[in-house]
Homo-oligomer: 220 residues x 2
């Protein structure tokens, strides 16, 4: 296998595994947890999210809760180039890479040109959906040796399914959101059996604010 970045998956979730309520209220983390996440951000080369998260939450994905003189590269996985040109993740505070497919049409090529003119890098791999395995190889070649994967649940599924995640850290808020249709930590198709599922090894756990942090290594 080609070399790939070391990937840490991090989320803040309710006890019942939700990333937000059914109405997309995602006030989960406490101040202490935001600081914890920004400390991880300050120590990786890249921060990755799916286009779903950009469209729903419009995050900046910079290090701003703690002092730090560098911002990691922001990576958005976006097959159909749905990213709005005024998305905060495209601001000047850090470098941004948009990963999209090789599929092409006039409109897409036009948008790629505009993005490039804005200083955004566009990387292409896969057809229909971004090929995450290939993407990891490309990012590694660009010097991105470590990535913080910050969701959402659909991209998390893609990354776990492909075996691309190395480490997991989860902040569990002492809250129950409920909801069959609320977004969960790992959505997508799901593993059919327990035998096929991703196995973890609990490495560390500690109380943080009113919640708890659990840290795992992914078993390979």
């Amino acid at each position: 296998m080609t070399k790939k970045p070391y990937v840490i998956s991090n989320v803040g979730m309710s006890l019942d595994g939700k990333l937000a309520t059914v109405n997309n209220d995602s006030r989960i983390s406490c101040e202490e947890d935001l600081i914890r996440v920004h400390k991880i951000r300050a120590n990786v080369d890249g921060i990755m999210v799916g286009i779903g998260t950009v469209l729903k939450d419009d995050p900046r994905l910079t290090v701003h809760k703690i002092k730090s003189d560098k911002n990691p590269v922001r990576i958005v996985v976006d097959s159909k180039l749905r990213i709005p040109l005024n998305a905060r993740v495209l601001n000047k505070e850090a470098k941004t890479i948009i990963a999209t497919t090789e599929d092409s049409d006039e409109e897409k090529e036009k948008k790629i040109k505009i993005l490039k003119d804005m200083g955004v890098e566009v990387v292409r791999c896969g057809k229909g959906k971004v090929d995450l395995k290939k993407l990891m190889g490309i990012l590694y070649e660009k010097g991105i040796k470590s990535i913080l994967l910050e969701g959402g649940g659909t991209l998390n599924w893609g990354m776990f399914k492909e075996g691309l995640v190395d480490e997991v850290s989860v902040y569990i808020a002492p809250k129950i959101f409920g909801g069959k249709d609320a977004p969960t930590y790992v959505d997508g198709e799901g593993f059919k059996t327990v035998d096929e599922c991703v196995k973890l090894e609990l490495k560390n756990f500690y109380k943080l604010g009113e919640g708890i942090v659990l840290e795992f290594k992914v078993k390979k």
Copy 2:
């Protein structure tokens, strides 16, 4: 408010909050965890599940992983009386109460008669769906002062939404199941905002087998 039993909600779930895979593989708990659950069972007056769990898993809901001379009363919430007459929860090992609605038709009355002849108690409250608040009052009157709520996600939602749960204990297995459609700890409609959601207070946590147990009190 009328008096109600003290309710402990317990589940074994994957780290991403799932009670089973999309194909209903629910091998989550380790032996140590089963013993933990059976110890709780041995200390309550009743064990409650929804009809969904009976239809999918056909559990016995008795204390058999540890020595105990009593079995709590088994309570199945089943509005339309879908319970199969050969369900294991209806065996002779313990007393069983089926909670159903006041709605009536010929077939339902016939089935109630058969169940009663089998020694099963049938309790009726609510229309359309079992009225869980009323049910709690009725069970309390019958001497059931404590209940272990063992799911699934739909009944858990009903109980949390009505504010009927007092304590929560969760075993988190070091596994990721994924799946937008996999059953989660609390399903149903879900709370729309974080302000409305159920708030918990972390009371205790410890490693168990390869996983971790988290214990909470529900804030009222």
